[in-house]
């Protein structure tokens, strides 16, 4: 692949199937600016119900920025300006009167670096239900904590030491704790921003299995640097390049028979 096709002007409109019927989340004509710099160019993308959508692309292609727009985590960055339409089912996410607290309860997020609170394992998982007032009683809360930890595949490892610091766990356990913390408030969508980049292969495979299990009940959007991971866990894959959405296709289709020459160049490792 020669350099000339990598230029932004050579990326045409999105190829493949960015839009689906009856989507969980739908984004149209999204532009994101950091001050004067445009990070996302006119992206339209749907995330289907109970689908695992992975977003891949070289560093700086805007995939994380796009993901963080989905539950308005970019609001904390003053210079970040987002335009376009975002809908969670019928809810207009960027509506001026939108309250982001319930939005983030419906769209949870798992971050790149495991970031448990410096509190006990129990308090970490119970934090969400507590602030949202989801449990009526202590036994209620105990149940939520146990089921969340079980869903995150961490229960057997920590059930005897729920009052120990969450930060004392290993990296992989911490990340599963963060996932348990996120699903404790039963979000509809879980956003994952490179959840395995700080983990070793064994911990990674545990998280990947977990993602597959969770996709039965949740809609998941995952940003990843690992193409193998995208191939293993996702139903559809979106390839971003220089802030543009180049191609969206069924994962198998995209990795075996990419429609866009840039996608092919990326997945065959010729750049990125």
């Amino acid at each position: 692949m020669d350099k000339s096709i990598e230029g932004i002007e050579n990326i045409g409109p999105t190829i493949g199937v960015p839009l689906v019927d009856n989507p969980k989340m739908s984004m149209r004509n999204v532009d994101v600016f950091y001050a004067d710099k445009q990070a996302i160019h006119d992206v339209s993308l749907d995330i289907g119900k109970n689908e695992v959508l992975s977003m891949i692309g070289p560093s700086g292609c805007g995939k994380s920025t796009f993901l963080r727009c989905l539950n308005r985590m970019n609001d904390t960055i003053d210079i970040c300006k987002v335009t376009g339409s975002f809908h969670l089912e019928d809810l207009d996410i960027y509506h001026p009167k939108m309250d982001i607290v319930p939005l983030r309860a419906r769209v949870g997020m798992v971050f790149q670096k495991p970031n448990p609170f410096p509190k006990s394992i129990y308090d970490n998982v119970a934090y969400g239900p507590r602030i949202h007032g989801l449990s009526e009683s202590k036994t209620d809360l105990d149940e939520i904590v146990e089921s969340s930890l079980q869903k995150a595949g961490l229960w057997n490892e920590v059930k005897d030491r729920l009052d120990e610091q969450g930060t004392g766990l290993s990296g992989g356990q911490q990340q599963r704790l963060c996932i348990a913390r996120t699903i404790a408030i039963s979000p509809e969508v879980i956003l994952m921003d490179e959840p395995c980049s700080a983990l070793d292969p064994i911990a990674t495979s545990k998280i990947e299995n977990l993602i597959t299990e969770l996709s039965e009940n949740y809609t998941i959007a995952i940003v990843t640097h690992s193409m193998q991971q995208a191939a293993r866990v996702s139903n559809r894959t979106a390839y971003f390049h220089l802030g543009k959405l180049v191609e969206v296709n069924d994962t198998e289709h995209l990795f075996t028979n990419p429609d866009h020459p840039l996608t092919e160049a990326y997945i065959t490792g010729r750049f990125g």
Partner: protein, 440 residues
């Protein structure tokens, strides 16, 4: 072919050895520089420690004697006639009785040959003018003592105290001060009769200030300082931390907040006496507040402490890892919940350290208190925020200015008490930080 390749290997090995030699040569120089670097640090620490040792030796050497006080052991006849008490059940008579008279009587009993008016006055001067108060307390507590003869340790005058201490400390000529040769003879007699005794100086810790060194204590100054610091803490901690949270978490980044930030940093560098002038002009001049009171002192000192607390609290808030903030926001926590549940607990050790450093600074501050009248001569121990009082550093300043020799040791002793307070405050800071610190 073989030849060529082996030759090329040889040259590359020789190049390598050459390289290692050069690295080794450099290494020696590098290690020497490193040793020098370490040595400079060590020297600075030694110098700092030496200064500290000199300071402490000087202060403790001068001040430790102040914790003991000379008393004269006398047999006091509590003669009802001399005391002028007709009815021991009458409290008015008990409190107005002539206690000084019986003490003087017993002094004359020890030196019966003293007759002249002038001589008598000299003899009475050996005993502190405050000695009778102690006796009065004793009799009021137990009126049946009237008519009895009791063994009493009578508080000696500060000149006697100084003479005895300087005589004991070294064999050289003792410091006589205002004592004349006749008084020195009497003292020599008392000393040989084992009537001069040194006891723990409890007066130093229970009395307020006094013009008589033997009656002067630091209780008033300590209470004044504690009241002042209490006001300072309440004001500066609450206002300082609220300000820091608002500036870090809520304030928009614009020119106004930049201006505020610059001014806070400037305030931290303003000489403290300026704050005293401000207190004088605004709080006393405009608002008509009472002068010399801990309430006003606390307000003025909190103005001085605020910048320190705000700056250190902001630094503590900034050092909270953004990942924790993001985690909480991602869970749907509101801004206030993020602050109260995550930012504050993690920033609290840093905030407390800054606060205690600021308070320690305020505790040792003299200049602004001078301006608002806390330099007044206050005998009564303050019992409330609005009682006139002085503060420890001001007390030290006052005593260091007094002509009596006995105030020299009291000045050093007061410094020791102030240092002890400061050290315990700093230890508290370290302990709190250790306790509250959490790892992540």
């Amino acid at each position: 072919m073989n030849n060529v390749s082996s030759k090329s290997i040889n040259t590359s090995t020789s190049q390598q050895t050459n390289m290692i030699d050069r690295i080794n040569l450099n290494l020696k120089k590098r290690y020497r520089a490193e040793r020098r670097f370490k040595f400079y640090g060590l020297i600075s620490i030694c110098f700092a420690l030496l200064c500290l040792v000199v300071l402490f030796t000087d202060i403790i050497g001068k001040g430790h004697t102040a914790f003991f006080q000379t008393y004269i052991a006398l047999e006091v006849v509590l003669d009802a006639d001399v005391l002028d008490i007709q009815n021991i059940d009458n409290p008015k008579q008990l409190s107005e009785a002539n206690y000084q008279g019986v003490i003087r009587h017993s002094l004359r009993a020890v030196f019966p040959d003293v007759t002249g008016r002038n001589e008598k006055r000299k003899l009475y001067a050996l005993v502190s003018s405050g000695a009778s108060y102690h006796l009065a307390d004793q009799v009021r507590a137990d009126p049946s003592l009237v008519g009895q003869t009791i063994q009493l340790s009578v508080l000696a005058d500060d000149d006697v105290d100084t003479w005895l201490k300087s005589r004991r400390n070294n064999g050289s000529e003792a410091f006589t001060g205002r004592l004349n040769s006749q008084q020195l003879d009497w003292l020599g007699n008392l000393f040989e009769a084992n009537r001069l005794e040194q006891k723990f100086n409890i007066i130093f810790f229970t009395n307020g200030d006094s013009r008589e060194p033997e009656l002067a204590g630091i209780r008033g100054a300590i209470m004044g300082s504690l009241f002042t610091i209490m006001v300072t803490f309440l004001l500066s901690f609450t206002v300082g931390i609220s300000t820091a949270i608002y500036l870090e978490e809520y304030a928009p980044k614009n020119r106004i907040t930049d201006f505020i930030e610059i001014n806070i940093n400037n305030l931290a560098a303003v000489p403290s006496i300026i704050f005293g002038l401000l207190g004088l002009a605004i709080f006393i001049g405009v608002f008509g507040m009472q002068r010399s009171v801990p309430l006003l002192g606390g307000i003025v000192l909190s103005l001085m402490t605020l910048p320190t607390i705000i700056i250190s609290s902001r630094a503590a808030i900034k050092s909270v890892p953004p990942s924790i903030r993001e985690a909480a926001l991602g869970m749907g926590a509101s801004k206030m919940q993020v602050i109260l549940h995550h930012v504050l607990p993690l920033a609290m050790p840093g905030m407390l350290t800054g606060t205690i450093i600021g308070l320690a600074q305020a505790l040792g501050e003299t200049a602004p208190l001078l301006m608002i009248g806390m330099v007044a001569f206050v005998v009564d121990v303050p019992g409330a925020l609005t009682d006139p009082s002085t503060a420890l550093p001001v007390q030290i300043f006052l005593w260091s200015d007094s002509p009596e020799r006995a105030f020299v040791e009291r000045t050093s002793a007061a410094i020791m008490v102030l240092l002890a307070l400061l050290i315990s405050m700093n230890s508290l800071a370290v302990w709190l930080r250790k306790r509250l610190e959490r790892r992540w």
